[in-house]
């Protein structure tokens, strides 16, 4: 049974995993790139080893170096977090070969679900409904795909076979634009996953993205911890998740939960995983993919179930049975997570980099913040722009929204621009409050300008604030000039000296 865990990741998720390990008395080993010497996961871990230069390919994606460090440090388990090596079958296999526990599913499950095309084929056999699309396994050429596309019908999606998080995904409205989009999707997939393979899927319009959290142990017990509503997305990136979904009732929840468990069982799943579904307006649901790892948005499930998912991952990986039966999983209240990204919502969400000079984290009852950054830390362009997750719990969805509003208003991050104002605007949107949205909502029916018209009073206050700042700035620089005049007195004195001695 392992007692020292290497965390093959960075940022908030590395911190999250270190915390869980520490609370279970397990030692922790961090790895870091040159850009992350002072990152929180390095500071919090018991041990820390340099991987290499900042780019992921030279650091967090270097499986060979990570395994070397595991050997050198005596780490007998590896938690991959999400992204990077989390869904790489070869990495999981290599761990097994070296006698290192991979905290996640078996390599065969990763392989079966990681190749999105194979995953579809597998779950279809288990009687799970899927979105219509290419049924063939990976390695399809552009010619193949262009030939098949019309039979699926437009609009459709190009998706990366190794994909996740919207990377390498493109929406196609017609055959004409497809070649260009194929090229850019492959390029992005290659860059993100080292694998440029793509496949096609029908685009279900007006759909919601709802996913089920799965936990499974090595004794064949598989349970689900309920669903998460993840339809608030932009460019296929999730921005906000909540549990439960305002769209499901108990009956549909149970039906989808059963299907999710069946899908996980179809690949002999062990450890934490997520079954993603699309749900259309008529409450038909389709298997989309399985994420064979811990999910960014796992905290909302933790908040409504009281179950520490990462601790449970560690227990299951140590060969224990699940701590809960399906009947023992109880849901209480409502949780919402806002992803705080270093990007400017007023300037087309362009990424923002720089040193964080100050931060004030919202706290108090029902508020949780998972983050890897702190004042003095530099946000570099090398990694994902998500710098924090703000999670709240309330007895009802309405209370959670009100709590999220006050928490967002309290949150200060200075030094980079963040999308906090986006979330504030979203919290004020009547459609969001009413639970009426699908995956296209943010891009098609939401704007930073339209939630609430800036009141006359607020614009007067903005005018006064800017005037006062500008006035004080002018005053200060005037004083500086005066100070410089005094500093110049040495030189005046030199001049006097010269005249005196002339």
């Amino acid at each position: 049974m392992f007692n020292k865990v290497l965390i093959a990741n960075r940022g908030e998720i590395a911190v999250r995993i270190i915390r869980a390990c520490r609370e279970l008395g397990l030692e922790t080993v961090a790895v870091f790139s040159e850009a992350d010497r002072n990152a929180l996961h390095v500071r919090y871990a018991d041990e820390a080893y340099l991987l290499g230069p900042a780019p992921s390919r030279e650091s967090y994606l270097r499986a060979d170096k990570i395994l070397d460090i595991a050997r050198k440090s005596g780490a007998n388990a590896i938690h991959p977090g999400y992204g990077f090596l989390a869904e790489r079958e070869d990495f999981a296999s290599k761990c097994a070969e070296l006698g290192i526990t991979f905290i996640g599913p078996k390599p065969s499950s990763i392989a079966a679900m990681g190749d999105k095309a194979e995953a579809r084929a597998t779950v279809i056999k288990a009687g799970v409904p899927v979105v219509p699309g290419t049924e063939d396994v990976g390695n399809m050429t552009n010619d193949d795909l262009l030939r098949i596309a019309p039979s699926i019908g437009f609009p459709l999606l190009i998706k990366a076979t190794a994909g996740g998080g919207g990377k390498g995904m493109r929406e196609v409205r017609s055959l004409e634009e497809m070649p260009t989009l194929l090229a850019s999707a492959r390029r992005e997939a290659e860059s993100a996953f080292g694998d440029g393979n793509v496949y096609l899927e029908k685009l279900v319009e007006g759909a919601r993205h709802i996913e089920f959290q799965i936990m499974a142990d090595s004794f064949g017990n598989v349970i689900h911890l309920g669903e998460r509503e993840c339809s608030i997305q932009r460019r296929h990136q999730k921005l906000l998740e909540e549990a439960p979904s305002p769209f499901l009732d108990d009956e549909l929840r149970q039906k989808m939960g059963d299907v999710a468990v069946r899908a996980a069982k179809s690949v002999d799943y062990v450890n934490a995983g997520t079954i993603e579904f699309l749900v259309d307006k008529d409450r038909n649901f389709f298997f989309l993919e399985m994420n064979t790892r811990l999910q960014v948005e796992h905290p909302v499930t933790e908040m409504v179930t009281g179950i520490d998912i990462v601790a449970e991952q560690l227990r299951v990986a140590r060969g224990r049975q699940l701590s809960y039966t399906q009947e023992q999983v109880q849901f209480k209240g409502h949780a919402i997570e806002c992803r705080v990204n270093a990007e400017d919502p007023f300037n087309n969400f362009v990424p923002s980099t720089g040193r964080i000079t100050h931060s004030l984290i919202p706290t108090g009852p029902g508020v949780r913040v998972d983050t890897g950054v702190y004042p003095g830390f530099e946000i570099t362009p090398f990694y994902d722009p998500m710098i924090a997750k703000l999670i709240v719990w309330g007895e009802t969805r309405a209370q959670a929204i009100l709590r999220m509003r006050r928490a967002l208003e309290e949150y200060r991050i200075v030094g980079v621009r963040t999308n906090i104002p986006f979330h504030q605007t979203l919290m004020d949107s009547h459609r969001f409050m009413g639970g009426q949205f699908d995956t296209r909502f943010v891009e098609e029916r939401f704007s930073m300008d339209d939630a609430i018209e800036p009141s006359e009073a607020n614009s007067e206050i903005a005018a006064i604030l800017a005037t006062l700042v500008s006035h004080n700035e002018t005053e200060r620089s005037a004083q500086k000039v005066r100070r410089n005049e005094r500093d110049a007195s040495n030189w005046k004195w030199v001049g006097r000296w010269e005249r005196m001695h002339r």
Binding site: A192, P385, E409, V414, P421, D428, P454, L465, A466, H471
Partner: protein, 165 residues
Amino acid sequence: MKYITTVNEKEYSIEVVDDHHVRIGDRLIHVNFEPVSGQPVFSLIMDGKSYESFVYAGEEDWQVLLRGRLFQVTVEDEREKRLRVAAGGGASEGGEYLMKAPMPGLVVAISVEEGQDVEKGQVLVILESMKMQNELKAPRAGKIGRIRVKAGESVEQKQTLLSIH
């Protein structure tokens, strides 16, 4: 000191009377104004109401982020205003436009060539930053001037990428 302050094309006449008073139009208002922790964050208590806001210096204006809303604010003293009005007020629309990198990153592709005519909104450069590919588009129609970077090159924030005439 008197200022003409403009928000969304609405003009406010604001006089900073002393450290604790401003006059807006003809209302004299008590203000208690403090920077927070030496940051571009300001706390303003005005007639008892408490506000807190980010105030960033833009190139020509101030950006005020207040309760999740962004206000673009220009502040001119009376002399500046007269000078600008006398000059005809027109910011140069015609000249050369320099496309600068909005963030540090890697140039993935340049979709145009020197001398090529482009339309407004046409993708000129693809810049990868934080694992996202960002398309930089022409802000107006014109002809591409000099291209100063190559695909595969890393660029700093605000580094000039190319020009449009």
